[in-house]
């Protein structure tokens, strides 16, 4: 209100909406840290309240219960994930280049925010009514980016259209999640490049050796040409 007042939202926000939002952010941030540090069960509502500088009861004015608090934390994770994925895909034309970007992005994000992913895995993957909870829709939105790349790739015949889309998706994200876990368990610094290269290689030509598809189709052409030459000579001779 006072004209010279600098817009410093961190100290004394003026509107009610701002105050509420700021408090919600503080709570979600406190919950994020508590969950990451202690896991879902290990994090106590009392701790979260203290960290957010709020009474325990106040948490329940902002979130129905501990699960809803987790939904909020995980929701923000998916928002970050989706935004970055969208950005990276936009300026890439080639199907496999897009897939490689998405793979690297997913892997790096999963490794960086591994504790969040653990929460997702352990608290959503086993609930019948997961589909009713917030992060489900956000997950759909994230995955939709991948789906559109693959659909387009199938139209372009970069990807075999007879494969079910969901199966390609399960292979892609299933592999990446497992690979991320492997990297985490290994400790050391994670070797992103090897994972991505291997995955892309397997996507392009399977697990058989020597990238046969490419190599042999070259041979095939050469041999075919040679056959025609020989056949032509034979026909000329006789």
């Amino acid at each position: 209100m006072s004209p010279g007042e600098a817009q410093a939202p961190e100290n004394t926000p003026k509107t009610r909406r701002e105050r509420v939002e700021q408090r919600e952010n503080a709570i979600v941030a406190a919950a994020h840290d508590a969950f990451v540090d202690m896991g879902f069960e290990g994090a106590r509502m009392a701790d979260i309240a203290r960290a957010a500088k709020v009474a325990e009861g106040t948490l329940y004015l902002y979130f129905k219960n501990k699960n809803a608090l987790l939904d909020a934390v995980v929701g923000r994770f998916y928002e970050r994930l989706t935004e970055a994925a969208q950005d990276g895909v936009q300026d890439r034309a080639d199907t496999f280049a897009c897939l490689e970007f998405l793979a690297r992005h997913h892997l790096v994000s999963c490794i960086r925010e591994w504790r969040i992913l653990e929460l997702v895995v352990s608290r959503y993957r086993n609930l019948q009514h997961y589909q009713d909870r917030g992060p489900y829709q956000l997950n759909r939105r994230y995955v939709a980016i991948f789906d559109s790349i693959v659909s387009l790739g199938m139209k372009r015949r970069d990807i075999d259209p007879s494969l079910p889309l969901w199966m390609v998706r399960d292979l892609f994200y299933g592999t990446l999640e497992y690979a991320a876990r492997t990297q985490i368990l290994r400790g050391e610094q994670a070797n992103i490049a090897i994972v991505i290269d291997s995955l892309m290689s397997m996507l392009r030509s399977g697990i058989a050796p020597g990238d046969q598809a490419a190599v042999e189709s070259v041979d095939l052409e050469q041999i075919s040409r040679r056959l025609e030459q020989v056949a032509a000579r034979l026909e000329n001779t006789t």
Copy 2:
């Protein structure tokens, strides 16, 4: 002890060891059902005790705590899984035939005992000290079967030896777990065949269209033979 005694362990087992074992089985069975029906958190120790016809305190004589009870339930799951996998692999020579068997076995088992798998995912995948708990070793033993198939496949050059073994493993089991979840979420009856066929196809030749490797290598042989025929005739003629 008494000579005419029929071996009926269900009613009045004689030795202490038998009694203890029988009770342990009853407890694990009760825990299994409770976990499957209600999930880990939903299942109450009081319920399990009642179902096993035992006092609550008795559970703690047999298992250190609720987690140890889960370890026992999951341990038995892995034992079943490993035994069947071992059996199926034994009488199969071809690398890809083994992989296909393992894939189908894993997928079918995961779908059949989905609730158990949910427990595994939600309670082990996020613990730092998972490696200390019982089921870790059993999981290793199970996965070792796959590893030995792939290692042998690499020696035989059925599988590209430059791929990291762990990466092939992550692709295999990551894909199958995600695919199992997809099948479960879809409801209906699960379509095992499509999952397995798609996976094997992607393993053999990636996601590119036309199964080129296999098809073209057959063409290659045919053409090569034909070329020799023509060449032979040409040589005879000239």
